[in-house]
């Protein structure tokens, strides 16, 4: 039940509890209770909107940064990742297999701001061995949503 509710909200956070109740065949009170509990348990972290900022010329600069680090004897990667995650500029952070260890998605107001973050903040963290910064040239798809899908396909009148 909870999984169904979470899936519905993940797809559209504005689905009302009344709608969810009908969709899942659960009383409204029960749905409200389950959602509240999920929020409390941090199963639901936040309700957000995916905005296509490029369309309104907002100055946003995105970068993907590959970071190679030395894991700590006890805490492994978690402790250093925890430290990096504290920075507001870091929008996503993953531990990855391959030639580097951590993958960061960073957002700044300008290239300068991102560069500062790399040289002033990231480079100074103990355990960081090296990094490669890729500036994002264009965002095509974020969280499953495509930014530019062209014109919406219109249904033709048909008899059926």
């Amino acid at each position: 039940m909870l999984q169904d509710i979470l899936k519905i909200l993940e797809n559209d956070a504005r689905t009302t509890t009344r709608q969810i109740a009908t969709m899942t065949g659960t009383p409204v009170g029960e749905v409200t209770k389950l959602i509240k509990q999920a929020e409390k348990d941090k199963l639901i972290l936040k309700y957000k909107t995916i905005v296509n900022w490029d369309r309104i010329e907002d100055d946003q600069v995105w970068a993907i940064i590959e970071v190679k680090v030395t894991p700590e004897p006890e805490a492994g990667f978690d402790s250093i990742a925890g430290r990096i995650a504290q920075f507001g500029q870091v929008r996503s952070l993953y531990l990855a297999s391959g030639t580097y260890d951590l993958l960061l998605v960073v957002m700044g107001k300008s290239e300068r701001q991102v560069a500062d973050f790399v040289s002033e903040n990231l480079a100074h963290i103990e355990g960081v061995q090296g990094m490669v910064t890729h500036f994002v040239l264009k965002r095509y798809k974020v969280d499953g949503e495509t930014f530019e899908g062209g014109e919406a396909v219109k249904r033709q009148p048909v008899i059926l």
Partner: protein, 398 residues
């Protein structure tokens, strides 16, 4: 009507065959013309998925074009597609068809239906079908030289057709029973027991059964029963299936028929003279759908189900009583409280509230007093349509 118009219509009748003249002009046509001229209409009219075909399926077709697969295929369809279809039917419904001889790939179920009827009907043969039914059923029978015979169904019985009612209409001219469950326009699903009873009737009277199972995958909380899989009726059954609804592939025009060899051979004869072969790229896409499309189907069905629950509850709440449809993507609420005919209701609703539904009368006499609402549209649109319909029903309630 002016003298000139009468003259014109007479002339036309001479040019056009009697058979085609007999076909009733679709009641929905006029309606869709009106709809096309209006803006910002919320349409619960068109019965097709609101998804685009899952991209990996489309991409398989794109790749095939790049590789140059642009020629005819075998008349019966690509061997791999027939094999995959056979595998699918066996896995899903435990029914075995020989891919080379018992399966024909067609241009949607529409073509398969036409072929099936033309292959088995002699002039004047009767085909028994539920009323209401999909708009093409009776027309296809007439075009094939047959006579449609209606079996009334009603909301009280969840629009399921009763075997006894079928049997009562069997004459010595009866040749076949035509059923399509899950049903368009009602969303009705037949239980296995009720289908078994129909199977018994078919066997007892040696009738063919044409079973249109295009909506087989769109069922909610119940299992679909494949008619051909019932004991002892495989030899009497022509199973029609396709990709349009389950895989959101309406525009690809691809479907299939599965039946005993003799029938498929006869259908292939017509198919090869009239169609040659189904579109090659659509066949490639269908192979991909059968091989890897299952998760897409499940995801779409889950989503249709949520919208189904919202619209059914909504319609009942606003005074448009609606039985719970367990299949397809239609709700078929009653509009009898307004005292209007379903055509009046639909037209007024469209002009006054800009919501398009299809008058139930378009699907047969027993559809009068109902409208078809397709819920394969966004949740926001469904909610808005419900709000507008509520206002409308309240205004005209008698």
């Amino acid at each position: 009507m002016s003298a000139r118009k009468i003259e014109q219509s007479r002339k036309q009748q001479k040019i056009i065959s009697e058979r085609v003249n007999r076909l009733s002009p679709s009641g929905i046509r006029k309606f869709f013309d009106l709809l096309a001229s209006m803006e910002e209409v919320i349409s619960l009219g068109v019965g097709e998925p609101d998804y685009a075909t899952p991209w990996h399926i489309s991409e398989a077709a794109v790749r095939s074009l790049e590789k140059g697969y642009t020629m005819y295929t075998s008349n019966s369809g690509m061997p791999e597609l027939r094999e995959e279809t056979a595998r699918y039917l066996e896995e899903k419904y435990g029914i075995k068809y020989e891919p080379f001889g018992e399966i024909l790939i067609t241009v949607g179920v529409s073509e398969a239906m036409d072929l099936a009827l033309r292959a088995i009907l002699n002039p004047g043969d009767e085909v028994i079908m539920p009323d209401p039914h999909y708009v093409a059923y009776d027309s296809c029978v007439i075009l094939a030289g047959g006579e449609p015979v209606m079996v009334p169904t009603s909301q009280e019985n969840n629009f399921e057709v009763d075997a006894g009612d079928i049997e009562a209409r069997i004459t010595d001219k009866a040749r076949a029973i035509l059923i399509g469950y899950p049903a368009n326009p009602t969303g009705a699903v037949m239980s296995r027991d009720k289908l078994l009873a129909i199977a018994e009737v078919a066997k007892r009277h040696n009738l063919m059964v044409v079973s249109d199972e295009i909506y087989a995958r769109l069922v909610y909380g119940v299992e679909h029963t494949c008619f051909a899989g019932l004991p002892g009726v495989r030899e009497n059954t022509i199973l029609l299936g396709g990709f349009s609804k389950a895989y959101a592939m309406t525009g690809w025009r691809i479907g299939y028929a599965a039946a005993p060899k003799e029938i498929i051979t006869a259908m292939t004869k017509i198919h090869q003279y009239t169609i040659m072969s189904a579109p090659t790229m659509a066949q490639v896409a269908a192979i991909e759908a059968l091989k890897t499309g299952e998760p897409d189907v499940l995801e779409m069905v889950e989503d249709y189900n949520r919208r189904r629950l919202i619209i059914v509850k909504g319609l009942n709440d606003i005074g448009m009583p609606c039985f719970e449809p367990k299949g397809a993507f239609y709700a078929f609420p009653s509009i009898k409280s307004t005292g209007m005919t379903s055509e009046e209701f639909s037209e007024k609703l469209l002009t006054e509230e800009k919501v398009a539904v299809v008058p139930g009368s378009a699907f047969g006499e027993c559809g009068e007093g109902y409208v078809r609402c397709c819920y394969a549209t966004s949740l926001a649109d469904i909610e808005e349509a419900l709000t507008r319909m509520k206002r409308f029903v309240k205004k005209y309630k008698k």
